[in-house]
């Protein structure tokens, strides 16, 4: 039993990397997962299950394109059902990856080096899932290219003053930048895999992606500048993306949506749910692949703290939203709030508050933050709550607006649920492929951490 630290005494923090690693062994530890380890039964089983789910997802999309969006529960007045809920949820999950890879890089948070790679992969896959939903929601999805400005025979332009068009630019820029950032970080690691390859096929396969990287001084010189600048560009981008998503709502005059707190509130919610997803992915990964020395308890603890901090910002958003509705003394704003609390969807509202305000406070306790199973369960619960939160914001504002004669109800159908579960399946399917074929921790940054730890030990 470790003793309780008294005031003024520094609690020794676990290191960011286990002390017995050398540059060679850290390279081997990460690259052998891709190059040498055979497929394991749990991986194959997970891959088979997610493949089936992806097939279901494709079937759901096929039926949707063939029959139309009428197979979903949406109708007037609730025309934004699960599709937009899923969109906001997925795009939010992506944001934590960019926060870890770009913002923590600029802030010199070295512990990020162990988790940035799979957090970035998470971003790319989450944005992939997110971008599908607005397109499917178009109704005639095959005409999606009308959203892109190009000279056309109809002599029409997209309406650039509409947030829905802004979304197209924000999301496509976000996807492109995330992908480039991820790939740029991977180039030196692909070169490592090419050099450590055990078969000719691996050497050629990873050699193509490494593009001839040799680790030359000139390469690193340009690389470091490029990587830093991409991080600098991604940082304001990630804030802008969810702000744009939030103006999809705030732009409308609908009570419950028309609020100036939405951009910061949505950004905080995005990073909050994203950190929950990073924790969900980290805990099993480091267990199954024995990466405890690289992703240490320090990482888990830091992520849990960030989860708590962003969660508290979200709580502030809840509070201010309610306060503003009350303080405005505006009849329809107050009705929307009242309807959220006592109307047909009240259970969702109270569940969201119970988790995001109540259960969240458990993270103040160090034992919860360090206890892997409870943290894992908590991260799943928080992600579900964040999905419900978006559902609550969308449905409760739409289903009862100004005139009682235009009120209505919404419920998801089988096809709605199929696409929710299907997109989760697609995400994990992509992630499983990533874990097997791409180094899930940055190898060269791992070597850097070993050198840094050695230097610090030498100083002491």
């Amino acid at each position: 039993m470790p003793e309780r630290p008294t005031t003024g005494q520094l609690v020794p923090r676990p290191p960011v990397i286990a002390p017995d690693y050398t540059p060679g062994s850290v390279t081997d530890a990460i690259s052998e997962i891709v190059l040498k380890k055979p497929h394991t039964v749990p991986w194959l089983a997970a891959f088979a299950v997610t493949s089936l789910v992806v097939l279901g997802f494709l079937a759901g999309i096929g039926v949707l394109l063939f029959v139309g969006v009428g197979i979903w529960g949406i109708n007037i007045p609730v025309a934004w059902g699960f599709a937009i809920t899923n969109f906001v949820w997925w795009i939010g999950i992506g944001h934590a990856g960019t926060l870890i890879s770009a913002i923590l890089l600029l802030l010199h948070q070295e512990w990020r080096n162990s988790i940035n790679r799979f957090a970035e992969a998470m971003t790319v896959f989450a944005v992939t899932c997110a971008a599908l939903f607005p397109l499917l929601h178009l109704g005639r999805a095959w005409l999606f290219y009308w959203l892109i400005p190009y000279p056309n025979l109809m002599s029409l332009w997209p309406q650039f003053r509409s947030p829905l068009v802004l979304d197209v630019f924000a999301i496509s820029t976000y996807f492109t930048i995330s992908l480039l950032f991820w790939y740029l970080g991977l180039i030196p690691d692909f070169a490592t895999l090419r050099d450590q390859a055990t078969s000719r096929f691996q050497r050629i396969f990873y050699g193509i992606f490494a593009m001839g990287w040799r680790g030359a001084g000139r390469h690193w010189h340009h690389y470091q500048m490029g990587y830093l600048l991409l991080a600098g560009l991604a940082t304001p981008l990630v804030v802008s993306v969810h702000s744009v998503v939030s103006i999809d709502f705030a732009y409308a005059l609908l009570p419950g949506w028309h609020s100036s707190i939405f951009p910061p509130y949505f950004v905080a919610g995005a990073i909050y749910s994203g950190f929950a997803m990073v924790i969900t992915l980290t805990i099993p990964l480091r267990k199954f692949y024995g990466l405890d020395g690289l992703v240490t308890d320090r990482h888990i603890d830091n992520m849990a703290k960030l989860l708590l901090a962003t969660g508290l910002v979200v709580d502030y958003g809840y509070l201010m939203e309610m306060f503003t509705a009350w303080y405005s003394a505006e009849r329809y704003e107050m009705f929307t709030l009242y309807n959220r609390m006592t109307g047909p969807y009240a259970a969702v509202f109270w569940l969201v508050l119970a988790i995001n305000i109540g259960v969240l406070q458990l993270l103040w306790i160090r034992r919860v933050r360090r206890h892997l199973l409870s943290l894992f369960v908590l991260s799943l619960v928080i992600q579900s709550a964040m999905w419900l939160e978006r559902y609550m914001i969308i449905i409760t504002a739409l289903h009862r607006d100004f005139l009682p004669r235009s009120w209505g109800m919404f419920a998801g159908t089988f096809w709605d649920w199929l696409l929710v579960i299907g997109s989760i399946g697609l995400f994990f399917w992509l992630f499983l492929l990533f874990v097997r074929y791409i180094p899930m921790i940055s190898i060269f940054e791992g070597r850097e951490m070993v050198h840094k730890a050695a230097r610090e030990a030498g100083v002491r």
């Binding site: 040799r214 390469h219 991409l230 050198h451």
Partner: protein
């Protein structure tokens, strides 16, 4: 078989830094250092100029911003003006979003391409790949190559110079 240059293998980054500084002091200009991770101070030791990536990103981001704004101004102000309640056609506050997004998009793509182009990538073949043991450059070994194209290159003299730096090994790089 012509000679690309001579390669020296080192154990750690301090030795590589020392070697790069000495090579430069000795008057060599066409040499290259190879390392498994970025080494602080190597660019200065090699006498590299500031990376052109920063300029490329700035330039591309400004172009992106200009295209973003002009696209919206042209489409909604000139080509298809819609009068909504007498509001100005050049509604710049809402145009900022796409202007910003395109600046980031162009800047980011430029950053990626500039790193590749300035590093001379993609390049599937390079003579250093012929050196046995060079694959440890992406693990834990550091290398310095002095190219035969250098004016001061002389096989005997350069070999003696490299050996004086205390490497593990000096060998030839076939072209």
């Amino acid at each position: 078989m012509s000679l690309h240059g001579l390669i020296a293998e080192f154990e750690n980054s301090e030795e590589l830094l020392h070697a790069a500084r000495s090579a430069r002091a000795e008057g060599y200009r066409r040499f290259e250092a190879y390392c498994p991770e970025p080494v602080e101070g190597l660019a200065e030791a090699m006498g590299l100029k500031d990376s052109g990536v920063a300029f490329a990103v700035l330039f591309a981001a400004l172009i992106g911003a200009a295209i973003g704004y002009m696209l919206q101004y042209y489409a909604l102000g000139l080509d298809y003006p819609i009068n909504t309640g007498g509001r100005p056609l050049n509604s710049w506050p809402i145009f900022i979003v796409i202007t910003f997004e395109l600046a980031i998009l162009f800047g980011g793509i430029a950053a990626f391409l500039a790193v590749l182009i300035l590093s001379g990538l993609p390049r599937p073949y390079h003579p250093v790949f012929n050196v046995p043991g060079f694959e440890r450059v992406s693990r834990d070994r550091y290398f310095l190559v002095i190219e035969s194209a250098d004016e001061r290159f002389d096989e005997e003299r350069t070999r003696r110079f490299l050996l004086s730096l205390g490497p593990r090994e000096v060998s030839e790089v076939a072209d």
